[in-house]
């Protein structure tokens, strides 16, 4: 094994049996063995290897299907795919929580996996005791934890409550402490699931910042997320899983486009209620976000000269004395900002009710390519401002270029024109001598 390759997965498959996920009963198996009912005999014959999921007369289901890839030391690999694509199963195999049905993985170095924050927290124990318990479960030694303890507490902003039982913590405090322990893990290989997507957005950004420090510190990181903004800003390479198969392995930009254009995930509109989500806090909640064209139809494909409208519908649950302001952040697939858009001249107070904010982006402003839109609604008070929600990469759309229409300024050049935007500007070219 090349010293520089820290994860080497060769043809891993994981088979489950779908259907009735009941636990075997001794009685049914006994009947099966004694040649009793046909059904029982069938189920006994179907019984897979010890410890595997059992179901009656159900076809096997491959959660992972012959997945091979390798990760080099210091790489940050993104794992993307829609729900059920096999991401979680892959992480479980890599973090040794379960074994593959076929294939093998060689891993060099200590692995810490973060599939959940606050694993093993006990409500009766104090914050301090839980830091140690949770940290050792995640693979740190008591000595390491003692060394980093002050840092962990400071990061969680919990100094005065650290000796209080965590059952008295608010859910925010609980999450901050749990995040903080996780953020201070220092294994050679870190496997992170969606976990960083919860918590208040200010602290979430702090965690993402910490994650970036970790990835720049030469550690190998596997990062799974639905949040393309976070993936693009953290990962230099991605693998895309689809129905258990690895369908792409390469640059993040291409992977993200692959993910979106494979038709498995439309982000022309985001409807939290339909997805069973609540986006927002107890003051402001997102009702819907969408991208639509000049004719008002929602879609994800636009011509470069067409105007588009990004619409945000949100609910203000109680009248606010402050200005409640929607924000749109336009990002590139690599995570860099194209621009931010904020409506001007909103006044305080803001009465409770439902609002629609529409932002018209003129044709001839955006470049060809994929854009992500992060949507936020903020309160701007006298001395402070904060987000009620900040949904990263909430929307995603493609801008296409018809080379015939832009031939006027391409002069026969057909390559990509770089830039996060390609505004149509006023030019004056004249001969002066």
């Amino acid at each position: 094994m090349d010293q520089d390759i820290v994860i080497d997965a060769q043809g891993i498959s994981k088979q489950y049996r779908l259907g009735t996920l009941d636990h075997g009963s001794l009685w049914r198996d006994l009947r099966g063995w004694l040649g009793g009912s046909r059904d029982a005999a069938q189920s006994a014959k179907l019984a897979p290897e010890p410890g595997h999921l059992r179901g009656i007369a159900n076809a096997p289901f491959l959660a992972l299907d012959d997945v091979s890839f390798s990760v080099r030391r210091g790489e940050t690999l993104g794992v993307i795919g829609r729900n059920g694509a096999g991401k979680s199963t892959l992480l479980k195999v890599l973090s040794r929580i379960t074994t593959p049905t076929r294939g093998s993985v060689q891993i060099r170095g200590r692995v810490a996996s973060l599939l959940e924050v606050g694993t093993g927290f006990h409500p009766e124990l104090t914050g301090r005791e839980n830091v140690f318990l949770n940290g050792t479960i995640l693979g740190m030694s008591s000595a390491e934890l003692r060394k980093r303890f002050d840092e962990i507490v400071a990061f969680a902003e919990l100094d005065e409550f650290i000796d209080t039982p965590v059952k008295r913590y608010s859910s925010g405090m609980y999450m901050r402490l749990a995040f903080s322990v996780a953020a201070h893990l220092e294994p050679e290989i870190l496997i992170v699931d969606e976990v960083l997507a919860v918590g208040d957005s200010k602290f979430q950004r702090k965690c993402l910042g910490k994650m970036e420090d970790v990835t720049h510190g030469g550690r190998t990181v596997l990062f799974v997320s639905h949040n393309m903004g976070a993936v693009t800003s953290l990962c230099n390479r991605c693998i895309v899983l689809q129905k258990g198969k690895l369908v792409y392995d390469g640059s993040t930009g291409t992977a993200v486009i692959q993910y979106h254009t494979s038709g498995v995930f439309t982000t022309a509109a985001l409807d939290p209620a339909a997805a069973g989500l609540v986006i927002g806090d107890d003051q402001v909640q997102l009702v819907r976000a969408e991208v639509r064209g000049a004719d008002g139809t929602v879609g994800a494909e636009y011509e470069i000269d067409q105007p588009i409208t990004v619409a945000l519908r949100y609910r203000l649950l109680q009248t606010s004395a402050n200005r409640i302001v929607p924000n749109l952040h336009f990002l590139m697939p690599d995570g860099s900002y194209a621009f931010c858009a904020v409506p001007p001249l909103l006044e305080a107070p803001t009465p409770a009710g439902e609002y629609i904010a529409e932002c018209r982006v003129p044709g001839g402003l955006l470049n060809e390519g994929t854009y992500f839109v992060s949507v936020a609604v903020n309160t701007y008070a006298q001395a402070s401002h904060f987000s009620h929600f900040w949904e990263q990469g909430a929307l995603c759309f493609n801008v296409r270029e018809d080379l015939d229409k832009t031939a006027a300024y391409r002069y026969g050049y057909t390559g990509a024109i770089p830039g996060s935007v390609r505004p149509t500007l006023a030019w004056d070219v004249r001969q002066v001598g």
Partner: protein
């Protein structure tokens, strides 16, 4: 190819340099790779789990440690009434209350180890499904933390023993008492062995967990707890000796009460059974623990 690579690279790496260690996660399950070293590497976690159990237990009960003394005490009183006064079973010439108390304290530790270990997968399903750490850490720490409870009960037993001894009731504690820690180790090992086997089977047959409590109480009556071994007919004695708990209970009572008799060979058989049981338990548990999360 992978199995070979594993062996080569594991010898290359060492504990002192975890960055160099190569782990192989393979579909091929081997029977004999029980990770004893892993428990040592996670000894900090074992210690913290023992503390957690202790703190959680005592913070939640109003009576605190008293609660744990009450249970064997009530058992001994009930046994004294039913088996001593009503059924009039002999107790090798020692006061029935002390005879039953000694038996019930010792058995209590074994039974708590069996049921706690048997429950490992169910109780820790959430944790096991989210983080990898050597799975054996959990049963090992519960077996040790149950020791705290039994230590309190044992102190109570010693107090009653001292009181009865000064009353001239024919109780003769002997030098064997010094071996008490070994007896608890023996029971812990036996309890864990049985528990590990039950836990492994319950990954497949969850309903067996419900039967464990019942099986344990039947087992208690098959062990000389409420009657002395001397009452067992000679031709059946060998059958009782196949129950490894018989020898442990008998030696425990010989040591503290000076009652009973046991051959060295009979005790050795129990030690051998405990060792074999633990080996079998570890191997089976290890194998089932690798993919049990798929079943929950």
């Amino acid at each position: 190819m992978h199995a070979k690579g594993k062996r080569m690279s594991v010898t290359r790496g060492s504990d002192s340099d975890p960055a160099m260690q190569v782990h192989v996660i393979s579909s091929r399950l081997t029977w004999f790779d029980v990770d004893i070293g892993g428990i040592w590497r996670y000894r900090d976690l074992v210690w913290l789990l023992i503390r957690r159990d202790f703190v959680a237990k005592y913070k939640q009960t109003a009576l605190g440690p008293l609660w744990f003394v009450l249970q064997p005490l009530l058992n001994a009183i009930v046994f004294s009434i039913i088996f001593g006064h009503v059924a009039k079973l002999p107790t090798d010439g020692v006061p029935p209350f002390l005879f039953y108390l000694a038996g019930t304290v010792a058995w209590g530790y074994f039974a708590s180890c069996v049921s706690a270990t048997a429950n490992t997968f169910v109780a820790n399903a959430g944790l096991y499904g989210k983080v990898f750490f050597p799975r054996l850490v959990m049963p090992v720490s519960t077996v040790i933390s149950n020791l705290v409870t039994v230590a309190i009960q044992y102190l109570m037993l010693l107090a009653f023993l001292a009181w009865f001894a000064t009353q001239g009731s024919g109780v003769r504690p002997g030098w064997l008492m010094l071996l008490t820690p070994l007896l608890f180790l023996h029971m812990g090992v036996l309890g864990m062995a049985v528990g590990l086997l039950v836990a492994s089977v319950t990954t497949r047959y969850r309903d067996l967990l419900l039967a464990t409590g019942y099986a344990l109480s039947l087992w208690m009556y098959a062990t000389p707890i409420v009657y002395p071994l001397s009452q067992v007919p000679g031709e059946w004695r060998w059958l009782f000796m196949l129950n490894p708990m018989t020898a442990v209970i008998e030696v425990f009572r010989m040591a503290h009460l000076g009652a009973g008799a046991l051959g060295v060979g009979e005790y050795a058989l129990s030690v051998v059974l405990a060792a074999l049981g633990l080996a079998a338990g570890l191997v089976v548990f290890n194998r089932y623990s690798k993919s049990f999360v798929d079943t929950v």
